[in-house]
Amino acid sequence: MIQHEPAKSPASPSGFESFFRAHYPGVVRIAHGVVGDSHAAQDVAQDVFIAAQKRFPDPGGSGHAAAWVKVAAVHAGLNAVRGSRRRESRQLRAGATADPAGPEELVLARASRDEVRDALGRLPLRASTVLVLRHSGLSYAEVSEAMGVRIGQVGTMLRRAEAALRKEMERATRP
C-alpha cells in the first residue's frame, strides 16, 4: 500500500527569513559604505546575519535586532578593512608587486579610496558608525534607533565625525 503524505501548503517565510529579506539589502549597503566593494560587502553581510541568526533566532519585528545588524555591519566592515590592510601590508613586505602604474589620476583615485577606508578605521568607533549609517541613507531617527542614542544627539555626533574625517583625510593627503 502506498501512503501519500498530506499535501503541504506552501511554506511561508520563517520569522528569521522575513527579517533577513527585509534587512539584507540595507546591511549590504551599510557594509559597502565601509569596505567599498560589493563582494566584500556581501561577505560582511553574510557574517552579520550568521551572527544575528544565533543571537535572534526569531527576531519578528524586533527593532532591537534590526538596529543590531546595522551597527554590526559597520563594525564587521571596519574589521574586514583592517584585515585586508594587514594582508596588503604583509604582501608589500614580502615584495609582492603593487598595481601596475597607470595614469597619475587613477593612482590618486585608488589611493584616495584606500585612504578614506583607513581614515574611517582611525576614527573612534561611534564616530565612524554614525557617519557610515547616515551616509548609507538612514534617517536621523533610524540612526538614533540603531545606535541607541537620542535623536537630538545624532546631528552633534555626525557633525563631529565629519569634521574629524575631514581632518584625518587632510592629514593623510598632506605631502
Partner: protein, 370 residues
Amino acid sequence: MRHVPDGTLRRLVDEPLAVADGAAEHVSRCGRCRRRGELVVRDAAAVAALVSRPQPVPDVDLAWSRLQSQPAASSARTHALRRFHARRSWRLVGVPVPSTAVLAACAVLVAGVTVATVLTTLPGPARVNPVQAVPTDFQAIADAAGLEGSGVIGGFPTPSGSLALPFGALHWSSSGHARSVASIAAANAATGLALRLPGALPAGVGALQQILVQPEVTATVAFDAGAGATLAGTSLVVTAGPAVLVEYGSSLGSLGLPSLAVFAMAKPVASSTSATSARLAAFLLSRPGLPVGLAQEIRLLGDLGTSLPVPATSGADVSQVDIAGSPGILVTEASGAATGVIWEDRAGVIHAALGLLDQEDILNVANQLG
C-alpha cells in the same frame, strides 16, 4: 535666541523640516551661525563625496540560500570554496544589475570610440586611457554636439543621411545596415579583419547567439561660422569600421541575456582638410555643456594622437593590463558584476570583450582573442 547648536545646524542640512522654524530663522539673521552653518555644509558635502558610492543591488534569494547552506563549522578550504562559487553564481543570477552594466559598458565603448575618432587624427593611439564618466555625461555630450534626439548617439539610424549641427553639418554614409552572418569566417570575409573566437569559454557563458557585421561608415563634419573663424570652412572626415560584434548567451538559458560580447573594429581614421587635431580637440572640449570634469580629464591625457580616451563609468574600477603584448584597460563595473577589456592590437584593430564575468575570466577570453 541663543546661537544654534552644531547638531541642529547639521540636521538643517539633511532634514530641515524636522528642525524648529526658529532655528532656521536665527541662522538667516545671525552672521556667526550662518558662517558656522557654511562650514557644516562644506564638511558634510566633502564627506559625502568621499564616502558615497554607487549602491550595490544584492540578490536576496541567493544570499538567503547561501546563509542556509552555511554549516555550523567548516574547514577554511571548503568555506573559501563555497564563497568562491557563491560569488560566481551571484554574478550570473543578479540579472538586473549586470544587464544594465553590460548595456552601459557597450554604450561606454561606443562613446569612447566616438570620442577617439573625433579627437584622434594621426598616427593612432598607442595607449588606452580611462576617463571618468557618468551616464548623464553622454547626454551632455550629445547636447553639446547638437545630437540630442537625432538617434545618432548609439549608432546611425540609416545607412546614409545628414544632420544639421550648431557648428556645421554632419553627413554619413555606409554600404548598408548591420547584418547577421553565420560564422566568424563569413564575418572575416565581409570585413577583411582576421578575428577568431575564444576556444575556451568561461563557466556560465552559453552558446554563441549571433555574429553581427557593421559595414564601414564614413562621417564628415563640415564646420561653418558657428564653429568660429579658425574652423569655419574646414571639414573633418572620420572613417570607422567595419566592425564585428559576437554575442554569447548564458548557460542559464532562461535569462535570455548575453553573458559575453566580443567586439572588434578597424581603428577609426580621421582626417581634416586644414585644422590640426589640437585645434579640433580644443574646440570640441570647449563646447558649452560638455561636463567640465570630463573635458579636464581628456585634456590631462595630453597628446590625443597617441592616447585613446575610453570613458569608464564613475565608481568603476580601472586597471592597465597587457593583452598579448598590447596595452589595454580592464574595467570592472562598480558592483563587480560586469567586466570589460579594451585594447588595440598591433595590427591597429580595436578589440573589446565585455561580460558578466570576473576579471580572471574576462582576461582569459581577451588573451585568446589578442
